[in-house]
Symmetry: C2
């Protein structure tokens, strides 16, 4: 194999019919590429040999032009590495006015954008995980993840060209992976499913987006939990849905309140295993009530089972989907909470008669999911690492939770109420006397306490103030100090 040089070539249009010699045209082409910013200081230049071949000219004019560019300081050569645009260009070169072909700052003329594009709020970085620190919500114990095993599987699957040479494009994802997911969900979550009902997606957010686009037309009403998960609300409003907030109590969504206020709705969105953010588990009677409502009114239920793997005081509660005799539940899960979020892998369990529409839409949206991590996770599950990791984390998070609950009781006593500490990776505290939760969160972030304010989880004006506290990524021995600092902030 001949070695091929590095570097990317600029576009230099040569005109052989013009009177201008080729070396001058090449010189001019590089000068303007550098002056206009198409080539930036420090960028590597294609070798003269390779560039001559690309231009279909002899090497002489290219060498000639390069020599001049080197002499004038546009280029610099580094021994053994090649030729580069000078890291520090002569000042007089860079003072050439650059406005001529740079895009205008204020574009002119009508620039219409979709009305529906304004249904979603602007992104602000602070609404997501801003960093690692005590109380990070949705953050697993990253340092406990079995990286040696994981990366050996990644290496195995990225070494083999066959593994990447996927030629059966499947919008539902790899069949082997879906078989593993189905077996896990049937056993551990009591989900009734076959691999044919499963679709691999980039996380619960994409699951919600696809679901909303298949099930809802603009103007459809959807019950959402109040308080609830803000990102779920933005995806539903992006789909044009009318959100109907239904209050939750210690038994989960108050189904009767929903039926009184919004009997006609196309669907209900629920987190029955561990309500987000208040953490209640939906009671058996509410589950039956919700399923009956859905069946009698022709509605769908979207069950987001985002952190059901961890329960500390009782055995796991089976999914709502497993109770449903009428295929009215769309079940959504994710690997982000058990493994790590930058995986971007989740799944949907789709009622059999809806599979065709989910697949059609997914194909139009982004064709099929990336391949590598599906293969890696298939092995990770088959070899038992997944079950083992969950079991270890259940023990660890149980410890952290106990510590957090005890510290909160010691520091705050009766001045707070505790919610949803029986399961998952977060709990919530509310302050019956009220506090300014958003302000405290902003101050806490400066001290690397990453608690989340509770009040933004409400749609209506009537909010409870408090905090959502993650304990997944906070080492047990740091919890006591973190709670003291939290108390100091609240009292300040």
């Amino acid at each position: 194999m001949r070695t091929t040089p590095a570097g990317v070539s600029p576009i230099i249009p040569l005109d052989r019919a013009s009177g201008v010699p080729l070396h001058k045209q090449i010189y001019d082409g590089y000068c303007s590429a550098i002056l206009l910013g198409a080539l930036r200081p420090g960028q590597q230049i294609t070798s003269s040999r390779a560039f001559a071949a690309e231009l279909r000219v002899s090497r002489f004019p290219v060498l000639n032009a390069y020599a001049q560019l080197l002499a004038e300081g546009y280029f610099e050569s580094r021994t053994g590495a090649g030729t580069f645009v000078s890291a520090s260009l002569p000042e007089q070169l860079m003072s050439v006015p650059r406005t001529a072909t740079v895009p205008a700052g204020a574009p002119s003329g009508p620039r219409p954008v979709a009305r529906r594009a304004f249904l979603v709020p602007s992104f602000s970085p602070s609404t997501t995980l801003p960093g690692w620190g005590a109380f990070g919500v949705h953050q697993p114990a990253f340092d406990q993840f079995p990286f040696p095993i994981w990366s050996s599987l990644v290496a195995k699957h990225s070494h083999s060209p066959q593994a990447n040479a996927i030629h059966h494009v499947d919008p539902q994802g790899s069949l082997r992976f879906r078989q593993e997911i189905a077996a896990y969900l049937r056993t551990a979550r009591g989900v009734k499913c076959d691999p044919g009902q499963i679709m691999v997606v980039s996380g619960s957010q994409q699951a919600l987006d696809i679901t909303a686009r298949v099930l809802f037309d603009p103007g459809n009403r959807v019950w959402v939990e109040e308080p609830g998960y803000p990102l779920e609300r933005s995806v539903l409003t992006a789909a044009g849905c009318e959100l109907c907030p239904v209050p939750v109590d210690h038994e989960g969504m108050e189904v009767e309140a929903g039926m009184e206020r919004y009997r006609k709705a196309r669907a209900a969105f629920v987190t029955p295993s561990h309500q987000y953010p208040l953490g209640s588990t939906m009671s058996a009677s509410r589950r039956l009530q919700l399923l009956n409502w859905a069946q009698s009114s022709g509605a769908w239920i979207i069950e987001d089972d985002y952190d059901s793997e961890y329960r500390f005081e009782s055995q796991p509660v089976a999914s709502l989907q497993g109770l449903d005799a009428n295929s009215r539940v769309i079940y959504i899960g994710t690997f982000s909470k058990v493994l790590f979020a930058s995986l971007r892998i989740g799944y949907i369990v789709i009622p059999p008669d809806l599979v065709d529409r989910f697949v059609a839409l997914r194909f139009a949206m982004d064709i099929f999911p990336p391949y590598l991590y599906q293969e890696v996770l298939t092995d990770f599950m088959r070899m038992g690492h997944f079950g083992r990791h969950i079991r270890r984390m259940r023990r660890l998070y149980g410890e952290r939770r106990n510590k957090l609950v005890n510290c909160l009781k010691e520091e705050f006593g009766n001045s707070i109420e505790l919610h949803g500490a029986e399961a998952g990776m977060h709990l919530a505290i509310t302050f019956p006397n009220g506090i300014r939760d958003r302000e405290i969160v902003a101050r806490a972030a400066q001290e690397r306490l990453w608690l989340w304010a509770l009040s933004p989880s409400y749609m209506s004006e009537k909010v409870r103030e408090g905090f959502i506290l993650g304990f997944g990524s906070t080492p047990t021995e740091q919890i006591s100090r973190a709670v003291s600092r939290l108390r100091a902030l609240v009292m300040a």
Copy 2:
């Protein structure tokens, strides 16, 4: 570290108040999990010790139940590996009627689905890459990809927990990666951009989906090329757009025809570097005409630059985006064609004033792109491997293209017309006398010739019949034989 056992536990609700002994409840729980399919033959069972801990009971009732399940043949133990559900269960067990709690085949009651969900056609596997073989469209020379370099980068980035511990969730993708993409596009494609305008997406399909959702409301008209790319059409129809087919000739989209027929349109979708599927390069005068139309009528241009890396008879042509002085072009590119499709990485270059809406929508759709391959590609580009691979492939594809063109001329002479062989990884042939292209494609697939029919690329009734022939993945020495087989099929 204590070792943690493998296996996933079923949900068995224990009732300590009932008269039924615990071991009998556990036994019954496993029996019904197996009979109802929650546990499948061959699946691993949690160890008695771990399961007792989860149930919060002593180990004796669990051991007792397991012994009975082993004795009756529900379980089998494999030395050193653990306990499993029997791979072959006794027949009388499996003949138990299973209908009771299995979901009903025909669900009852109203099951309303969104009207818009029916805007997209059903997925049929044959519309995508069905396998590897001569003429595969969109398939690169997979065996030429530098896998040793690639997988060493993958291993490097998946070994380090830090690398995965991304905590700044960025809906646009990693900044380092966007810097590399911007430098590449400025230099090689003449795109005017900064990293702040770039969004990393899962491929050109997701790029189109996001773009359509930001720019178009239902009922908006969009010019599309006729013939054109079917998947681009489905994403636009999914967004509720009215498609306006504008014919293409050897200079690309016939802008005047578009202006006559549909002067009021919200946007034009074009593939100016290498029109899909006919392969023409849009001429300079058409480019200016299109940009002028967009500016004067307040429309957008979506430029899909899907395989611009390869030109064989002339130098690269700069992007349409680079010519645009009014920020009216949304530029879309992908790594699928240069590297491999299962990567699922592409990008959008967004006009600065639209970045906020693109980011808001992407955050609502799927939050942020997966991390690993962004890091790997950043290194791959910085180290020059990317430029080098493109240069090698340009030489290789040039060879394959020459061979294909010569063989086609030899075998078919004047009975075909050849289109778009100057660039890219495919060309098209049409038969002036007409043929039944779809039928021939179906027969060809049985012989592992993966040509695509041309006629489905047309929206209207007035189609040209012929084939789209990929040459990226077809070894030069196999081309002659493949063309002979194609001729035999056409003549049959």
